[in-house]
Amino acid sequence: MSSFNLYSRGDRIFGWANAILLGLFVLSTLYPFIYIISASLSSGAAVTAGRVTLWPVDMTLAAYDRVLSDRMFWIAYGNTFIYTFGGTLMSLAIMIPGAYALSRKRLRGRTFFNLAIAFTLWFNAGMIPFFLNMRDLGLLDSRFGIIIGFAANAFNVILLRNFFEAVPKSFEEAAKMDGASEFQLLWKVFIPLSKPAIVTVALFCIVSRWNGYFWAMVLLRGEEKIPLQVYLKRVIVDLNSNDEFASSLLTAQYSFETVTSAIMVASIIPVLIIYPYAQRYFTKGILLGGVKE
């Protein structure tokens, strides 16, 4: 791409048009983020009155103070880390070997298993049966239940499987000749070779774990186990119900919006830190297109 100046006029115009359009889109997606940051830094009254549109109004750290001084926030933050990393590790531990096995064409029953897994992309039992199942398995109110209960999903399995299928056959054969077992083959050859796919899947897992709240809310009992998103929900409910009497116009510097914004900012930051690392691997690619061509 170093032959930049060798574009014809039309191509350069195209390039500019593209950049401008994309720039607009980027700005429009950047906006809510800016809004949230500004809202988290504004006074509750200003936000409520709709006076915050771009920059913070009546700048205050009250919302952050309210959030960061809450012991529960830190507990929830810690829990989210546990669920995110524990869950992602568990996901990888279950899906990688499974996807690897399914990627071996000689495996008997492969078609059946593949179909059975793809089937779950669209077909699931629903909330109550899932809940009853978790109960029967004794996984209510258990951190382990949260970690194991959502460990796999068909999309990620398919993604990994396709990547494994695309690994040149001779790697496997060479290792076989050398006497490697399937376990060694997976651990010493396929996993290192499939880093891009694994990082991609890991990111998907991290993102969905980080954002997930519904089942944590349903399955957990103890306050000391709740993740950040549930905490966020609680704060929303909390601030909403207090509203009835306290007219926050006077009493508090923070309000419902500013506090939720502050929590959201706090919760996005780790993702912002992780993402650029993961992004490098996307160029290597999700071999989604490599499906049965």
Partner: protein, 497 residues
């Protein structure tokens, strides 16, 4: 001194108690500790703190099939029907006999309030839960910017025409004096209050404090939104909306519209809770010169009467019940009974003596620290375990003590007017009735709500579409639902009438 001890040895009972979507029962509440000390019954919570929906928490508890000794709390949609339904299925035990034998205070209460007993009874006539019984009649009333009226030389409107004039004046005469025509003459926070103005044409918004509830017309159960005067009312409201007398965004502005419109000196008239709305007088006194938001009596309707449609529920669909698996039903009912005793009532209403209140002239009186705190008193009480929706009997006096003067004046004005509409207390449905209800009612309510707002917003003309509307209601099973409700109503309240 009569002993309040229920058992000699301390007894521990487990409880699922999730309420207001975020709280659970706690042994640490001073109120609870006091109660345990008095009764020797210790209640230990098993409800999830993680769940932010009391409804989900309750459903999941039932689904888990593993009930603790006591199940209670509140939830969106109310728990009354759930207590009855699962009671009939055997999850909760009927309490009538236990009350009769072991619960003198409860017995006395129910004997004194047969309508409440009827309202919470199952279709088999049994009581399956002890309800949270609120006190006080008035919840909301009309409020108007008295300072604006004064400024414009108007008086509180008494008739629909006068209301019309006042609102038009608010719209046109720049009462907030900023030179911009930005006043919002009528506004409301909640959907019920958005169409509250239909009362002026004798139409009703709901038969109870619950949104879109049935109403009783001379012993006949009907839905207010299928009545002729509803048509008239909506037609006028739609006209006023079109004229810009009603907040353009009344259906979307949401919960903080009052804060916004009053805080920015824009709103003129509303219909809202007495206590909380009155506080804006204090909150905004320094900010808006002469701010005076005053309660006013309901204007007379076109037929010349005066009525208020909104009132407190006489009995909340919340409270607690005893599970079938509870091995100490007698002790448990005694425990429930404790909360209806004199001591129990004070405890549950005012909290712990010395902590939240002092006895003054034999009456509980909130301490100054409590009244002067920046947090609302009720929120402080929740924090110690008082005023939570267990089966208890509220006393309005608790609220009177910290309600501001303006609200109290309004309430006494309404008391004197004595214009409160009777409340529909609800019916308990048996299985067949429930099936009919479940099948038709959600769609009917959806349709009626949909049309109500469609008309108000002027997307359709109610006069032109009323017949279609009625026909469609019939198609959606309106008559079946009404017939079913009527028979259930007759069964439940027939004896009283």
């Amino acid at each position: 001194q009569e002993t309040t001890k229920i058992t000699d040895d301390p007894l521990e009972l487990t409880i699922h108690f999730h309420f207001r979507d975020k709280y659970v029962y706690s042994e640490k509440w001073p109120v609870e500790q006091k109660a345990a000390e008095l009764t020797n019954v210790h209640v230990r919570n098993v409800a999830s703190l993680a769940t932010t929906s009391s409804r989900d928490a309750f459903n999941l508890l039932i689904a888990s099939g593993n009930l603790p000794d006591i199940v209670g709390g509140d939830a969106s949609g109310g728990l009354k029907e759930d207590f009855i339904r699962y009671g009939l299925e055997g999850a909760f035990i009927p309490l009538d006999d236990l009350i009769e034998e072991h619960a003198p205070h409860l017995k006395a209460f129910f004997d004194g309030h047969p309508e409440i007993r009827r309202a919470i009874s199952g279709p088999d006539g049994n009581i399956y839960f002890i309800p949270y019984v609120p006190d006080g009649k008035f919840s909301r009333g009309w409020f108007i910017r008295q300072d604006w009226l004064d400024k414009l030389g108007l008086k509180q409107p008494e008739t629909p025409e006068e209301v019309h004039e006042v609102l038009k004046a608010f719209r046109d005469k720049d009462p907030n004096g900023n030179g911009v025509k930005d006043e919002v003459p009528y506004f409301a926070r909640e959907e019920v209050d958005a169409v509250r103005l239909i009362n002026l044409w004798d139409a009703r918004v709901s038969g109870s404090e619950r949104y879109g509830d049935f109403a009783v017309y001379d012993g006949q159960l009907r839905h207010p939104w299928a009545e002729e005067n509803y048509k008239t009312g909506i037609a006028h409201v739609a006209q006023w909306y079109k004229e810009g007398l009603i907040d353009k965004e009344i259906f979307t502005r949401g919960a903080r519209s009052r804060e916004y419109l009053l805080g920015n000196n824009l709103g003129g008239m509303t219909h809202d809770w007495f206590a909380s709305t009155s506080t804006y007088n204090d909150a905004l006194s320094g900010k808006i010169e002469g701010f005076a938001l005053r309660p006013m009596l309901p204007p007379k309707t076109v037929s010349g009467q005066r009525f208020e449609d909104a009132r407190r529920l006489q009995v909340q669909p919340a409270g607690w019940a005893i599970s079938a698996t509870n091995e100490h039903p007698v002790e448990t009912i005694k425990y429930f009974d404790f909360w209806f005793s004199e001591q129990g009532r004070i405890l549950s209403n005012y909290g712990v003596e010395g902590l939240t209140y002092e006895m003054v002239d034999g009456k509980p009186q909130f301490k100054k620290e409590i009244l002067g705190n920046k947090d609302p008193v009720n929120a402080q009480l929740w924090a110690v375990g008082a005023q939570i929706p267990r089966g208890y009997w509220q006393t309005y006096d608790y609220e009177r003590q910290w309600t501001n003067k303006i609200a109290l004046q309004g309430i006494s004005m309404y008391e004197q007017c004595n214009c409160l509409k009777q409340e529909f207390l609800g019916v308990s449905l048996n299985t067949e009735e429930k099936a009919v209800y479940d099948r038709y009612w959600p769609s009917l309510l959806t349709y009626m709500t949909e049309m109500q707002q469609t008309w108000v917003l002027g997307a359709q003309d109610i006069n032109a579409t009323w017949d279609v509307y009625k026909k469609r209601l019939a198609e959606l099973g309106y008559d079946k639902v009404i017939a079913m409700m009527q028979s259930a109503y007759d069964r439940q309240y027939g004896a009283a009438r």
